[in-house]
């Protein structure tokens, strides 16, 4: 009994102490998830309107650009809602399935950003003749050139017949090309910009070629070539005309008929032609030309070129190197027509003048040439299928008459950089900015430089 009383007293004492402690330490409750706002004065219909007015005032400088944003947004939405991008792809796929390949042409120089229409039609596809051995193409294009107050026209046709079992093929090409004005500054490394004149080339080129694919990466071709060239004065305002400016001192200034043979060996093991990250290509060309109209033109041509693409510890850093050497050798006291000489200057090797990117297209003509191009391409952007490379470029080159005329001091160089924008490793846009002794040059292309 005593013991139970004892425990009862202890229990009551504990209850009293606990209760008094609880009473003494009373929690002052509040609703943590109360709906009362911290800034109630900032919330309300009038406040919302006031804030919108403040925002408008704060964005007054933006207002002139609003229409741009509006048009951009509306256009983008329209494209997506109408599936225009898919329809465009469908359209071009449909054309391609019928052997029609639209293309864009750009003038060789001037009129930066000017584009002209072009097309290639694969006739066997168009006629729905399904066979793997023959391809027949016709193509043509036209470019306006505001700066040169003229146009460029090209028309060509070609066919290719492949042997059914052997890696052999035959190709025939007929090409007509005319430009209302191409630049000419004289012959030699010391030609001056002050001698700037223009000529009007009109060329018919016929070529019969046999090719042998030695391996998957290399081929050897031999061809017979006929070239008919008419040269007139260029149609460009405020620029000298070649025949008036240089007289008859330029070989081939009256054009000529030439027949020649040529052999070309090409090896190409680039991993991706439109965005090479490793591998390279090498080629060597040997050709002989002779006039057929008594214009005293006869010469040999030897051209070697090599390019290599070296990843530097990563395929996001590529060192792209290229070197080209060309030697044209007069034979029998005859001449080499200027239009078939080595040419240096410009930003696109496809135009026939070698890369020296701060210099004008066709800036230097001579019998021989050596040029080296280097680009350090590095990835600056990548998101799924889209990527962008920046590159630093350096070009160095010289034209000269004979090998012993080559002088290091005469080497011309360009330096600069640019950006290549790529989609699925196809360069869709390339911007180049280069500087050299003759100033700055900019250009835009739809392919990598080399």
């Amino acid at each position: 009994m005593k013991k139970s009383l004892y425990w009862m007293i202890i229990f009551l004492a504990f209850v009293i102490i606990a209760a008094s402690a609880a009473l003494a330490q009373r929690e002052v409750d509040y609703d943590l998830y109360s709906s009362a706002l911290k800034y109630p004065k900032a919330v309300g219909p009038k406040q919302a309107q006031k804030r919108e007015l403040q925002l408008f005032a704060g964005r007054i400088l933006e207002q002139p650009f609003r229409p741009i944003g509006f048009v951009l947004g509306e256009t983008a939405e329209w494209v997506e809602r109408t599936h225009t991008e898919n329809k465009v792809i469908w359209f071009f796929d449909k054309l391609a399935s019928h052997g029609v390949y639209p293309a864009l042409r750009t003038p060789h120089e001037g009129s930066n950003g000017t584009l002209g229409p072009g097309v290639r039609i694969q006739l066997d596809k168009l006629a729905q003749i399904e066979q793997p051995f023959a391809i027949v193409n016709v193509s043509g294009g036209w470019t306006p050139n505001k700066d040169f107050a003229g146009t460029t026209v090209d028309l060509s046709t070609d066919y290719k017949i492949e042997a059914p079992t052997k890696p052999l093929y035959h190709k025939g090409i007929a090409r007509y090309w005319r430009s209302s004005a191409e630049s000419f500054y004289g012959i030699g490394q010391k030609s001056s910009r002050g001698e700037w004149s223009s000529y009007e080339p009109e060329e018919l080129n016929l070529e019969g070629k046999f090719g042998y694919n030695i391996t998957d990466n290399s081929e050897l071709t031999s061809a017979v070539v006929y070239q008919r060239m008419n040269v007139g004065n260029g149609n460009r305002e405020r620029i000298g005309k070649i025949k008036e400016h240089f007289g008859t001192g330029i070989p081939g200034i009256n054009g000529g008929d030439l027949i020649g043979i040529k052999s070309i060996w090409i090896h190409d093991n680039r991993d991706f032609k439109t965005d090479p990250k490793k591998g390279g290509y090498q080629s060597f060309e040997f050709s002989y030309f002779h006039d057929t109209d008594g214009s005293n033109l006869q010469y040999l041509t030897m051209t070697g070129s090599a390019a290599h693409f070296i990843p530097i510890f990563s395929d996001r850093r590529i060192l792209a190197l290229r070197v080209v050497a060309e030697k044209n050798q007069k034979l029998g006291g005859d001449q080499i027509p200027f239009y078939n000489m080595a040419r240096l200057g410009g930003t696109d090797i496809r135009d026939g003048s070698e890369l020296l990117r701060s210099y004008a297209f066709n800036r230097y003509f001579d019998e021989s040439l050596i040029v080296a191009n280097a680009e350090y391409r590095y990835n600056i952007y990548e998101y799924g299928n889209f990527a962008g490379d920046a590159f630093a470029l350096f070009d160095i080159g010289e034209v000269f008459k004979e090998v012993h005329n080559f002088v290091f001091d005469e080497l011309k160089f360009s330096y600069g950089g640019g950006v290549n924008i790529k989609f699925r490793r196809h360069t869709i846009l390339s911007f180049v900015l280069a500087r050299g002794n003759e100033g700055w040059a900019t250009s835009t292309h739809t392919h990598v430089s080399f």
């Binding site: 003494a24 330490q25 706002l37 911290k38 919108e52 704060g58 650009f65 983008a76 997506e80 590095y378």
Partner: protein, 559 residues
């Protein structure tokens, strides 16, 4: 805050009651009336891409509010006096307020059982928007669903991401549609004669049985020829998307500019956790709903197929989360460096030999995860406006998910391989802690503040230190100090000397009955050589004239 705090709180509550944008308790309006009043809005990915990436990225430099925002952040106008976000038509406190049960976490927003697997399902339209294949169906009960599938080479990836992430977003507090994981035989699909779809060439065509079979050929098949899909129940009375800038003026409840809403700004933190890089206006929906006879606009998040390691139609690209789709800043930063050093995500991707480990997971890991620099696919200014206090609020909600909670939700995604489920849960667990550590370090991470009246004008403040609660630091590592500022009826201010303490509570006395308001600042220091937290926690106490006692009237973690 003026001395008569009760009145102020009352006024604030009344204003909040009537004016809080998107308040659940709204003006008495019928759905039809509101439907008539609310203007429809629409957007597409292309529009958002061009507007955010090209237009706004450049004109923002002409916006004074953008420039001032860079110097001083605008506070969140939807934050409550106690630094929480009150329930609204944008957000409802769920897991952060009271831990949800396992059943609640698994159920998520689902109210039913999804489309009847017995079929038939009438296909009424092919899915047009987005990048993944989809079909709109109507089940035998007449309910409409959007079926979305996995990419052929990545079975389970997109559907699992959708199921898991929508449940997380729901538990966090957002409104999301009902998503069901379904496995069905293609035979139960019956094409409606009026059904149309856009083919790959962009032309609208009649959806024939043949076309349906072509669509389903691109979808991975499970055992027994079953097709796995996520089925999202279609919402009714949809009025377009929720803008991340400005407000919907035709909505009488929408009174706070959305860029000033913490619940929208903090999506960046929640998105970083679940790798939801496709957080954009187009993935929201404004829907008119009715509760208790009142119609209001409720703001939904939709489309979670591009979360975790999935980009819906393929695994996430390695750069996802690190850069925007076209990140001018990153491009500008990289260009002058000549790429001497590769980016961290590039090194990681190379280390993985540029391959995803599991097709069902896609590309998702934590190796280079940085909560502070994580980015959505499109650049939205609203996410850059998030303050440290807002991010802390989001981080503490994320931290409220236990390891078991995470595993529970992840398991509901029904991976075929349990290892995939464990991997995702493990990534989310580590990511949760990384987010917690990061954002807790930006404020004084004290929560659940309690005030005790000890009698005789003595008070004690207790709190939970979230760094200690979640074991980022031990109690021994922490030192606190508090500073009191006492304000009398006459407006005189007296600041008491700063005092250090080591436990999660401290006491103080109120020296005079004239004191009507007390501002308390608390800072913490973690580790021996740690610094005091940059932004102190501010607690405001106000005297209650009736009970002659103080109560907590405001909590602030800083802007």
């Amino acid at each position: 805050m003026k001395p008569n705090h009760r009145r102020t709180i009352l006024i604030a509550a009344i204003i909040a009651f009537f004016c809080l944008a998107g308040s659940l308790i709204s003006f008495a309006m019928t759905v039809e009336e509101l439907d008539h009043r609310i203007k429809n809005t629409d957007t597409t990915f292309y529009r958002e891409f061009f507007e955010t990436t090209f237009y706004k990225q450049f004109v923002q430099f002409l916006r004074l509010d953008w420039l001032t925002q860079k110097v001083k952040r605008t506070p969140a106008f939807d934050a409550s006096l106690f630094d929480e976000v009150p329930d609204s038509a944008f957000f409802v406190n769920r897991q952060g307020k009271t831990p949800m049960s396992k059943e609640e976490l698994i159920r998520g927003p689902e109210k039913g059982t999804g489309p009847d697997p017995a079929g038939p399902w009438r296909v009424v339209k092919g899915k047009v928007e987005g990048v993944s294949a989809g079909l709109y169906i109507e089940d035998s009960k007449g309910d409409r669903y959007l079926l979305k599938f996995d990419p052929k080479d990545y079975p389970e990836m997109a559907t699992t991401a959708e199921i898991i992430s929508h449940k997380f977003f729901y538990a966090i507090g957002y409104f999301v549609p009902e998503y069901y994981l379904v496995h069905f035989k293609p035979e139960i699909l019956q094409v409606d004669p009026k059904a149309t779809y856009y083919n790959d060439d962009g032309f609208k065509k009649q959806l024939t049985q043949e076309a349906l079979e072509t669509i389903l050929e691109r979808v991975p098949k499970m055992k027994g020829g079953l097709i796995r899909a996520s089925a999202s129940k279609m919402l009714k009375h949809v009025k377009g998307y929720t803008s991340f800038e400005g407000r919907r003026k035709s909505d009488p409840d929408d009174l706070i500019a959305h860029e000033d809403r913490r619940s929208i700004k903090a999506l960046r933190v929640f998105g970083s956790w679940l790798n939801h890089y496709d957080l954009r206006e187009g993935n929201t929906l404004d829907v008119i709903e009715e509760e208790n006879g009142n119609a209001f606009v409720k703001h939904y998040l939709i489309d979670f197929g591009a979360t975790l390691g999935s980009a819906s139609y393929q695994p996430k690209v390695p750069v996802a989360g690190h850069e925007h789709i076209l990140d001018w800043y990153e491009v500008g930063k990289t260009a002058p460096t000549f790429k001497i050093i590769e980016k961290p995500w590039e090194r990681e991707w190379d280390a993985l030999k540029r391959q995803v480990a599991s097709p069902a997971i896609g590309y998702f890991d934590n190796y280079q995860f940085n909560p502070g620099t994580w980015k959505t696919q499109l650049p939205y200014d609203v996410f850059d406006r998030l303050s440290s206090a807002g991010a802390f609020w989001a981080a503490k909600i994320i931290m409220s998910f236990s390891n078991e909670d995470i595993q529970t939700i992840v398991d509901s995604g029904q991976f075929s391989d349990p290892e995939d489920s464990k991997t995702i849960a493990s990534i989310l667990t580590v990511r949760r802690d990384t987010i917690g550590r990061y954002w807790f370090s930006k404020v004084t991470p004290l929560d659940r503040v309690k005030l005790f009246d000890l009698g005789n004008q003595n008070y004690q403040i207790q709190f939970e230190d979230l760094n200690v609660k979640y074991h980022f630091f031990t109690e021994k590592d922490v030192t606190y100090h508090f500073k009191l500022e006492m304000i009398s009826k006459k407006g005189k201010t007296k600041t008491l000397p700063q005092q250090e303490f080591n436990s999660s509570s401290f006491s103080f006395s109120v020296p005079s009955p004239d004191i009507v308001r007390i501002n308390v600042w608390i800072q913490a220091r973690y580790g021996q050589n740690g610094r005091w937290t940059h932004s102190p926690l501010k607690i405001v106490l106000a005297a209650n004239p009736e009970s002659a006692s103080f109560s907590v009237v405001e909590i602030d973690h800083g802007v």
